[in-house]
Symmetry: C2
Subunit: 93 residues, 2 copies
């Protein structure tokens, strides 16, 4: 079963942060903020992602949180301001 | 009815970011990451908070997302690494 999965993180180490964002992408999540990824992925993929994130973080300093949202909860999601892609594309103009 | 509410934001302007974090605190949310607040608050408070956040952000650049989590979804929340308070207290030592 696929459920919306949100990953948010606070990581100061550049390499570790990059690894975490790469892992989120590899598992089908899309960046929705600088430090937030979201996607509708199978529960099995979410579990594998969590295992990988735990291994990546290890004993390093940082904080990663994973939230699962059912359809009803996801429908209540509210976004204000520009989405990440729109905001990013301004830098490319 | 109270539901867990998660607010995450990407805001570069220092004053605006401070106003947003103050608003989250005022409505009973607790900081769980540098740019993430979480709390079990009544739906009426969540709606008022959303109105306030929308007004604060206005036409400024930035992105704010609000997620609502039912009890079942919240029970699947996973946190890795130090929580915000633990991480912060290291600076005070």
């Amino acid at each position: 079963m696929s459920m919306h999965t949100l990953v948010i993180y606070d990581i100061t180490d550049d390499n570790l942060r990059q690894s975490v964002s790469d892992a989120c992408k590899r598992f089908g999540l899309v960046r929705v903020q600088k430090s937030a990824f979201l996607g509708l992925i199978p529960s099995s993929a979410r579990k594998d992602l969590i295992v990988l994130l735990r291994r990546l973080l290890g004993e390093s300093s940082g904080n990663i949180q994973v939230y699962v949202l059912c359809r009803a909860d996801f429908s209540m999601r509210i976004e204000m301001g520009k989405s990440f892609e729109e905001a990013e594309s301004e830098f490319l103009v």
